[in-house]
């Protein structure tokens, strides 16, 4: 799953906007965004943070600077070193798929940051906080914490590709007041595009996405 191949695959599927959300890092986002731009695809800088309670939260940011600021805090709070035999190599590549280096942190690990703190931090950087795959027992907020804690303002809840809209409505009806999105949660090239969300908005910008999630003035999200 190199940046070049990810973009190629997305382009072949007619995808316009794609958030790249690696576990606990954003180091391959910029390269992906640069390649994608040439193909007319907007890449949103994202990160999937693993909380201390082992809940996955997506942070989506308007620009690389904000994403990098979030990454810095994640790194400060992420103990451990990667074990390449157990978890594979964590490669950094350029547009030509040349290896620039390796990330030695334990990206698969959990940070010391609570879910509450993570959402607070994401919002502090004007990002969007999405509860990842709430329909998934492992690493989903409802599986891990029993219910969505009071006082956390998620911008959206993600229903994974595993669960259709109707079933999700049955399971999570009480959470309908929070916008729902779905995504491919792609961990391989074939996964890309297996589940998508439509954003109805004026322009293809981050601000418009924020408005679409809120359902402001005609903009909306369709899943």
């Amino acid at each position: 799953m190199t940046p070049a191949r990810i973009v190629e695959r997305a382009a072949s599927l007619g995808i316009n906007i794609m958030a790249v959300c690696d576990h606990n890092t954003v180091e391959n986002v910029e390269v992906t965004a640069n390649i994608a731009k040439k193909k007319g695809i907007r890449v949103i800088a994202g990160i999937e943070i693993n909380s201390s309670e082992e809940v996955h939260i997506l942070g989506l940011f308007e620009n690389m600077a904000d994403a990098l600021s979030m990454q810095a805090i994640v790194y400060e709070n992420l103990p451990g070193e990667n074990d390449e035999d157990a978890f594979g190599m964590q490669v950094l590549v350029n547009e030509s798929e040349e290896v620039l280096g390796f990330n030695n942190r334990l990206l698969i690990g959990a940070t010391n940051l609570s879910v509450n703190r993570i959402v607070e931090l994401i919002h502090g950087f004007s990002g969007l906080a999405v509860a990842s795959h709430i329909d998934r027992e492992g690493f989903g907020i409802i599986g891990q914490l029993g219910f969505i804690p009071e006082g956390i303002e998620f911008d959206a809840l993600e229903i994974s590709y595993r669960t259709g809209r109707a079933k999700a409505q049955e399971m999570f009806g009480p959470y309908s007041h929070i916008p729902w999105v779905t995504s491919s949660d792609a961990h391989s090239l074939d996964d890309i595009g297996r589940s998508t969300t439509w954003f109805v908005m004026e322009h293809s910008t981050f601000e418009e996405m924020r408005l679409a999630l809120k359902g402001t003035e005609g903009r909306k999200v369709i899943f």
Binding site: E53, E54, S114, G143, Q144, L145, G146, F147, P149
Partner: protein, 113 residues
């Protein structure tokens, strides 16, 4: 078996001084996933976990658990402790692992009713 008995026998540290430690313990459940505890723990059980998030109190209240033991020297979050005292849910801590703690509970004769 009374909670106070267990606290004394296993030298558990009580984090919630005002909570009722005289209650009857009907068994125990070990899990770090709250949805799992909500599904499987029973009335009067002790809950053994490393989860310190505020939600553990709501789950303990919901299932009428006799208390929560945090293992591996985990420290309850500030707001968790506050809520525990409000809801009268005893929280105890121990440096033992879940395995060691549960082994000792079992040796004390605790069984699930």
């Amino acid at each position: 078996m009374k909670l106070q008995e267990i606290i004394d026998s296993l030298s558990l540290k009580v984090e919630t001084p005002s909570a009722d430690l005289n209650r009857e313990v009907n068994g125990a459940y070990v899990s770090d996933m709250m949805s799992d505890v909500m599904g499987n723990a029973k009335d009067g059980f002790l809950w053994i976990t490393i989860q310190v998030h505020l939600n553990i109190i709501a789950v303990a209240s919901l299932k009428n658990l006799s208390g929560i033991i945090l293992v591996n020297s985990r420290v309850p979050a500030e707001d968790t402790l506050k809520k525990a005292m409000e809801e009268n849910i005893p929280i105890m801590t121990t440096p033992l692992s879940a395995f060691d703690l549960v082994g000792r509970l079992y040796s004390l004769g605790l069984r699930c009713r």
